[in-house]
Symmetry: D2
Subunit: 364 residues, 4 copies
């Protein structure tokens, strides 16, 4: 005679068998039980596959120059080393973080990276350049110098050229993971290698960059900045003025966002770009926020503590900070400023009401 316990166990076993049979039947009608994956789909806090990483310019630069010997610009379409997150599922999608793409691109003297356009929006933050390197966007050549931020927004024709004697190297930033998540990319080659030049060199910079003045002779667009090149010489002036005026945020030092003259908002609807300067020896407060970020070291050296681990960086290195990871920056020099360029999807997070940030105690 079975004990109550045995009966109960048999009952549970029967239940369990029934449940198993039931679950086995579900794929046949295209459904699955939410209760088995609720915690995964709706986590208590952001869970990101991304891990922090520092890409060393001292390593990337020689590899890039070697690529210049092994692969022609024509073969490559764009000769770029992607900075991939160490997590394979992110890297497979071309992710520096889950939502951001960064790469380092090389154009050798005399080369042309031929004209094309795509829905994915891009910018270039120039690392090395001599007089004569340029990007052409919708008929305007933007001459490129170190530190310049050059935009090639959604669906604008662009090609790159290098009439100088030195390689030009820059950081590419794109919204490729985001555009691909939305399955929204289109791509087209221009009929020729180089697009036709229809405007004076640096036309949009000349028209928009001085004195917060908007030229009424130009069409008023909206979501994308009309500025092709935000030149470093102006950025440097802004940083200098803000440092002198003591305009600091405790979590970021002196920090600016590059803006769209038509809206005062982010330069592109999908990408927000920033530049910040930290005083000699500055150690910022820690903060975490929902958008991940890619930082590029324009000048100086130091480290960033990310979720308790310290990541050292040198001039021209690039590093990433995952979603919701606590991070604080340390300028490692007692005498020189450190300047970081960075980009995120902040405008997207804000417009979709997904932005959260938390200023926290300094990490242990």
């Amino acid at each position: 005679m079975a004990s109550a316990d045995t009966t109960h166990q048999q009952g549970m076993a029967a239940d369990s068998q029934q449940l198993e049979a039931y679950l086995g039947s579900l794929p046949g009608i295209g459904v699955a039980p939410l209760w088995e994956s609720l915690a995964d789909l709706v986590p208590v806090e952001p869970r990101t596959p991304d891990v922090p990483f520092v890409w060393r310019y001292a390593e990337v630069r020689p590899a890039l120059l070697r690529a210049g010997e092994l692969v022609s610009a024509e073969e490559a379409e764009r000769r770029v080393l992607m900075l991939l997150n160490p997590t394979p599922s992110v890297a497979e999608r071309g992710g520096t973080t889950s939502t951001l793409y960064a790469g380092i691109q090389l154009v050798l003297p005399g080369e042309v990276a031929r004209a094309h356009h795509h829905v994915a929006s891009a910018f270039r933050c120039v690392i090395e350049a001599s007089d004569g390197a340029f990007t052409t966007v919708d008929g305007e050549r933007a001459m490129m110098s170190p530190g310049d931020l050059v935009l090639t927004s959604n669906w604008r024709w662009h090609d790159h050229g290098n009439d100088s004697d030195d390689p030009i190297i820059w950081l590419d930033g794109l919204d490729v993971p985001l555009v691909n998540f939305f399955n929204a990319n289109f791509f087209e080659l221009y009929p020729d290698q180089r697009q036709k030049i229809t405007k004076p060199d640096n036309f949009s910079t000349d028209l928009y960059i001085h004195g917060r003045l908007n030229p009424l002779s130009e069409p008023r667009a909206d979501k994308h900045s009309p500025v092709i090149n935000y030149p470093w010489r102006e950025t440097e002036r802004a940083l200098r003025a803000a440092i002198d005026a003591g305009a600091e945020s405790p979590v970021d030092g002196v920090i600016f966002e590059y803006t769209n003259p038509f809206t005062g908002g982010s330069v592109m609807p999908t990408l927000s770009c920033f530049v910040q300067a930290m005083r000699p020896g500055e150690h910022t407060q820690a903060r975490r926020r929902t958008p991940s970020a890619v930082y590029h070291v324009v000048r100086g050296s130091g480290s960033t503590i990310i979720d308790g681990s310290e990541y050292r960086w040198e001039e021209k290195d690039t590093f990433c900070v995952p979603t919701w990871a606590a991070h604080e920056h340390i300028n490692g020099s007692a005498s020189d400023e450190a300047v970081l360029f960075s980009f995120t999807n902040q405008a997207v997070y804000t417009s979709l009401d997904l932005y959260r940030e938390e200023v926290i105690e300094r990490q242990g």
Copy 2:
């Protein structure tokens, strides 16, 4: 003596070896060549993993009721059968399409789906309900009837109850894949099973749904609609009036978007909801567009031709149309209207400048 050809081949072999060695060295420094994956990352046209599918209510309903016997509301937190896209990589992320989640939920008489909130935004389109079924959102009970659209936006407390004698069944729509792509979800349980009721039943519906009037006694919010329940009785009136007035779009028949009273835009920043009616025998023009869509058949039967294949649907079925897939709807009845509810991320695509659509010749 080696011929020129042999030398050339040897040269190529040497090159190839060098290139291979080079490529092998790249992972060590965290980079990869863009030129090997450019076509994947920047495709010529949207490439989606999603495939069309019809979830049959005749199959899903019995499975859901069976779940009602096997799994308690408490065990399940939410007793839902997810409608998963047949493509495993999409289904793994809880996707009905790459960017949209849909499920069918059951609350039995007397049950409570306990109070919680999360960043992911949700709505419920009611399929079956008797008097006494409700959703409580931020202190307001919205009594639910078939066809009602009930919102539980980003971070709003919500729980579900059923004081009727019949099961309540609805279609859940969420932005879970999107919020998880951005790694931005947070989740919290309410301290009690049910939240406290602080407002009269159907308060927001009463205040906002009549005559395009906004109550000045309420705080003016912004991105999320203040309306909890868009009741079917009003939707039916709107459809009837538009049908009588002959207000049709050739690609959608009579179609409306549910709007946020504060903006005139989508009900939530991440989800756009629509309802459309097609005349007896109507066969709409074909169209494709970048956002994917989930359709739910409120009434009637017919079929949708998606990229050349016909998908038949009956009342209460749910089906999806992938990104950029050509689609045209056919009302299969010669005597009755067909009514489709649908949702997409259109507001996101538009704000990020990713929206494209193309009206095309009828598919072969």
Copy 3:
């Protein structure tokens, strides 16, 4: 020998003479001293020429019907008695207040108020109407019933007709003083008496007024509401629902703003329209605000205390409250609700950052 005093007086007299001579010379070069009028041009608090006034329907109606005997619709173009502020400088500019125009219009059975359009925006709040009275706007006839709010926005063709057996009488509200201040009016007659009907009757009401749904078949406009008629039957439902739900503001009772479906904001950029209901015996809190207001009594009777004086009103009366005047409403009935329609330039004040309000102690 002159005393010091005498010298001083002589000096002052000389100064005064010099100053007078100086001031006399200024008009010749087109200038005037600011210091003589600073306090007038930049007053410490708003100074308005407007005074409160109640226009009695018991007086205005017979006068209007008498106008119907003396002046034909053709002769009058519009047979309207303007409700002019008692202050002549305001009245001269057609002002009910400095910035608002109101009038009472009559269209007799069989008459046509011929088609024209102008930049000044108008609405009509219907006081008396039987089946068959209408306003045609851009090809759509809006059939008019008591309480309906009918818009004829900036530059829209409009004509009025009356196919009923009774006179139709309504309150006209316009932004004429504002448009004339900006010298921005244009006016044009339609080639015929009546414009061509191109849409079903009440088309925009049918399409926009139900369930917060926007029809995607229609073009999306922006600043002006696409709704011609906000029908009273819906307004009544809204008031009823809000009263039942107890949604009250202490200064206004139950109050709603009529909204533009495209923006959730005011129905026209220059005019904001409201409707409010006060419980039997309700006595609202006092408030003052920068925009002046015109109120029309839809139902009930009572009084409004304006800057300490009580102004009694009956059903269908119209009264004005000047800029920055303290005002509180009293429903004089112990058994019936009082319903007030009102309009202001609130949207303008808000967008120009000129809006201020102050809730104050009840006036002595």
Copy 4:
């Protein structure tokens, strides 16, 4: 026996008497017939009381310096000669045009124009200044040089000082007629002569004027620009760059709008400021538009043809163009550029849907 004619005449006389009696009765109930003033209230085209005028700096400057001898800064509160439109009804309201106020202000070495604030928004366009002249706004001293545009927006504390050895003279622009039309002004004296300095000199210029960068350390405001001083050195750079790039509009030459970094729109919601340069000998196309304008000659000489009459201007002169008046500019020099600063209410006209413009054939 009376003839038919006589009877008809008697009938008309009787009608006329009746009408007269009727009209005489209307003021008693506070109304007036619209049909007697419709054409005045709703004119076919804008009718402005404004007339064109040129205020000669050669005349205004000596008068202003003479005021410096006759009236102290303390007595005057602000020592300003208002540039009044010749039409008395406009001049009485302090109007340079119906909607714009301009004046020329003098602050002598050592003087203080004491701190106050008001709802009316103002800017100063500097005509003469030496090192040491400044305006303090909300704790920030903006040091002023010729050509600088200095904003003192709605309700911001401001005072002026002059620590140089020379008089400082500037053009004041205000929205006083507009704010007074809306009866919306408030005014308050600061407790002390000078407000407290809380920020480094030129703080907002330093933070906002370079490279289209927005400082994230500052609060994000909205309708009013955070920039106190738009310095001429940057404006000059912008003009130079645009001239070199050939960015011209046919009706305005090279023209820029000063913008609000938070919106990309006008610097203040009520006032729009512009600067334009015309090539030697340039003769622009004619245009008319609904907003009136005040122009100030920064550099050069020439003339403007306004509704067929030519108005000559020299450096530092100020002139006005009425609403809807055709106007075209002629740079009278064959060798030098002419630079005009101007301001209008364009942002208001646009937001209220009152803006119209027409490019027309050159005037006879």
